[in-house]
């Protein structure tokens, strides 16, 4: 899932400015699960904005709507009415949702209410951790299912750096330090008697499959809808 966190209210208010009609758009998928931008958060944020505007003596009409997924056109099309009425659309979807809204409604002023953090999962209640950096060429088969790109602070592909200590990464200190990804990889493969996998040298990665190759796109010809034959 995509993990996000709400921006500070002051920043959100600055982004909203003195708009009279504000539409808060939540998303029912990832950001609902990480308690950052679902229907509940949209409601709370809406109330906070109304209260703040009232106290400033500039009452604004704030309404909320939550779609099942902000990153799909069909769900966005369903909220055309409220979007077109709003002076500012405050999306509390992830960065993809914000952009989808902005693209679907070219005239709307769309601003983000969240900071999109990473792709990850809840490790325990109230704690989310990064798991994948979408490098575009998954190595997990070599590393016991533990990602050295997203989870090693230096993206090392050939084993732990010298700073790995007692299971913790050299970055960060004490209990707040992340686990050393390579300690985890080693333990896992040792337990499975598969250490030979990391005895081989992993050559320098071809980062073209990652963001370094430019914005990426996946095209599946088999899934493309036939283009209508437009003549003249």
């Amino acid at each position: 899932m995509i993990v996000a966190e709400q921006k500070a209210l002051d920043e959100i208010r600055q982004l909203v400015g003195d708009a009279k009609q504000v539409l808060v758009v939540g998303c029912g998928t990832c950001v609902t699960v990480c308690f950052a931008g679902g229907a509940k958060e949209a409601g709370v944020l809406g109330s906070l904005l109304r209260m703040a505007a009232q106290m400033d003596g500039q009452p604004a009409a704030v309404t909320e709507v939550t779609v099942q997924r902000q990153c799909e056109w069909e769900y966005l099309d369903a909220i055309r009415g409220p979007v077109e009425k709003a002076d500012v659309v405050l999306s509390i979807g992830c960065g993809i949702g914000v952009q989808a809204l902005a693209e679907r409604y070219p005239d709307a002023v769309v601003v983000p209410g969240l900071n999109t953090k990473f792709m990850g999962m809840p490790a325990e209640h109230g704690e989310w951790v990064e798991r994948c950096a979408a490098c575009g060429n998954c190595l997990l088969g070599l590393t016991g299912g533990i990602c050295p790109i997203a989870r090693c602070s230096k993206q090392l592909l050939n084993g732990p750096c010298g700073g790995s200590s007692q299971g913790k990464c050299e970055v960060g200190c004490g209990d707040s330090a992340p686990d050393c990804a390579w300690q985890l990889i080693y333990q896992k493969l040792a337990a499975q008697d598969r250490l030979h996998l990391i005895m081989e040298i992993t050559p320098a990665k071809d980062w073209r499959s990652s963001r370094d190759g430019g914005p990426r796109k996946v095209v599946r010809a088999d899934l493309k809808l036939p283009q209508p034959d437009i003549k003249e």
Binding site: K154, E170, V171, K205
Partner: protein
């Protein structure tokens, strides 16, 4: 590396001849003062076979290791250019390797680099396009295959470095460290410098495994040693530096050295003396360990200690090679 001896680095000649090698370190200044480098270089002259020039050590901006290396070279030292993967991608690293070689540099030490959050620009974006092992492969490829990392042939002079890497025998997972060293040998590293050794028994344990794997025959291992300046420095290394192993006994020895000395200056001197003594003793122990081909003496910001330690450890004078080195069996 199959060069005629004339093209070999001094460090390579020393190791090839089977001498117990000595390398040390020079940290470039946090400014553009050439004299600062020259001054430190003069303090180290004659004490070591080669001198590491650190690359933005602990992620703090300093004069470039190649530039400082050239200055040190002009003062009569043979530099080992440290190169970290933190700040440069493969394009920048290769272009620097070509430049360093063109300027006369002959040794490279390939490192991942301390994370930038430790340094003075924690806001920086790190690179890590490659890791240290892949960097070793790349430098070896430039030399042995005349090819850039992308596979393209180098037309004309290729950089022909003596290639080093680092290893921390005390990092975790401890059991994996000898294998990681083996991996560096497989990547083509010619020599290894280790993290500072204070826990000698643990280092011995590491070396036993290394010898068992036969890695010491594939590359030359220089054990990292260095003088402690004070009990505070010892405690700091023990408690705060990730991957460092300073046994309590060493900390206590440092503390005891100052006991009963009221005068602050005299106490500081006693601490330093004890630090040097421990270092000299450690060197003697390193010489007894199978597979250890030399020491890497780290006394950053205490360059004066290097001549004292090497002298007392009986490592001076360093071998010189007017004529081609004698090829010994072990090299």
């Amino acid at each position: 590396m199959n060069d005629s001896d004339g093209a070999l680095s001094n460090l390579q000649k020393v190791l090839k001849a089977g001498h117990f090698a000595v390398t040390t370190e020079l940290g470039p200044p946090k400014n553009a003062d050439a004299e600062a480098v020259r001054h430190k270089a003069r303090l180290l002259r004659g004490c070591a076979d080669a001198v590491n020039i650190t690359d933005n050590q602990t992620a703090i901006v300093r004069m470039s290791s190649i530039a400082a290396g050239v200055l040190a070279w002009q003062e009569g030292l043979e530099p080992v250019i440290q190169m970290t993967c933190r700040d440069r991608n493969r394009l920048a690293m290769q272009s620097d390797l070509l430049g360093a070689y063109a300027l006369g540099m002959r040794n490279i030490l390939c490192l991942s680099g301390d994370h930038q959050t430790f340094g003075n620009h924690p806001q920086a974006k790190n690179v890590h396009d490659m890791d240290s092992l892949q960097l070793v492969q790349m430098v070896v490829g430039l030399r042995d295959h005349n090819r850039f990392q992308c596979g393209e042939e180098i037309k004309g002079q290729s950089p022909r470095f003596f290639v080093g890497a680092a290893e921390n025998p005390f990092g975790d997972p401890f059991d994996w460290r000898p294998y990681r060293l083996a991996k560096k040998a497989k990547a083509g590293a010619d020599f290894i410098q280790t993290q500072l050794v204070f826990n000698v028994p643990r280092f011995r344990q590491f070396m036993t495994k290394v010898v068992e794997l036969g890695v010491h025959r594939q590359l030359r291992i220089l054990a990292g040693v260095g003088p402690l300046k004070s009990p505070a420095a010892a405690r700091y290394m023990r408690d705060q530096v990730p991957g460092m192993d300073v046994p309590d006994a060493i900390v206590e020895r440092m503390e005891a050295a100052g006991q009963g000395i009221a005068d602050k200056k005299a106490r500081a001197a006693a601490y330093k003396e004890e630090g040097i003594r421990i270092c000299v003793e450690t060197i003697a122990q390193m010489r007894e360990i199978e597979g250890v081909a030399g020491i890497h003496l780290m006394a950053i910001e205490w360059e004066e200690a290097v001549s004292v330690i090497t002298e007392r450890a009986g490592l001076l004078p360093r071998p010189t090679f007017e004529t081609p080195a004698v090829v010994s069996e072990s090299a």
